[in-house]
């Protein structure tokens, strides 16, 4: 599976929010814990709605949660040792 062009810092945001568990975040978002795991691991890009809800849960702007990396940057990152 190709690396997704969107990275996120949900792990750090959970840590900053008092070590919020993935399960607690999943319950707030209305998704399964496995979906939170997949988003954190970059295996799934959430819908815009869930992305906004994640930002809302942590009280930050959506741009502080997700970062778009152009395809060329992702390809270059894949080739690095």
């Amino acid at each position: 599976m190709a690396k997704l062009p969107i990275s996120n810092c949900i792990r750090r945001l959970r840590f900053d929010a008092g070590e919020m568990t993935q399960k607690a975040l999943a319950e707030k978002l209305g998704v399964t814990r496995q979906t939170v795991i997949a988003i954190e691991a970059g295996k799934y890009s959430p819908s815009l709605e869930v992305a906004f809800r994640i930002a809302e849960v942590f009280g930050v702007d959506i741009g502080q949660v997700f970062e778009y990396q152009p395809a060329s940057a992702v390809a270059a990152g894949d080739q690095e040792p």
Partner: protein, 147 residues
């Protein structure tokens, strides 16, 4: 390994189908399967009963261990996985139907004695089973590797 209820459900269905219909086609490929369509009907009823019982029992078992997950609604990632895996199943089934159609049309022209109702029924059943295996296999792939 951390599996969601739906992922466990897909794995159970995959193994149950593989076990029941794998057993049937093992005999068919050995030439020991049903020799008539009424006999095949008997096999089908028995296999469906076994499949349903196995699926229900295992689904109850995984639901008992995690009732909250079993009752949770399907989220957006799971819906996307279902859509993608249904597409895989559809493509396999469509290929199987075309293969069966080819077998009927070309077989009736070039070797009509080899085209039997039982053979066609088995080919259709094989297509359906392959489609289901592809469908559940694709689900498990996407659950593990991402969507």
């Amino acid at each position: 390994m951390d599996l969601s209820f739906h992922e466990k459900s897909a794995a159970i269905s995959l193994l149950a189908i593989l076990g029941t219909y794998g057993y049937y086609f093992y005999f068919v490929f050995l030439g020991l399967g049903p020799s008539s369509t009424p006999e095949m009907l008997g096999w089908m009823i028995a296999l469906v009963v076994v499949l349903v019982v196995v699926e229900v029992l295992f689904h109850i078992a995984i639901a008992v261990f995690n009732p909250a997950e079993a009752n949770a609604r399907t989220d957006e990632r799971e819906k996307l996985i279902l859509l993608k895996s249904h597409r895989v199943g559809y493509l396999i089934l469509a290929a199987g139907v075309m293969l069966t159609l080819g077998r009927i049309l070309f077989g009736s022209v070039f070797a009509p004695e080899e085209v039997t109702l039982l053979g066609i029924a088995n080919l259709l059943l094989f297509s359906f089973v392959a489609a289901e295996l592809g469908h559940y296999g694709a689900q498990l792939y996407h659950y593990r590797r991402g969507v």
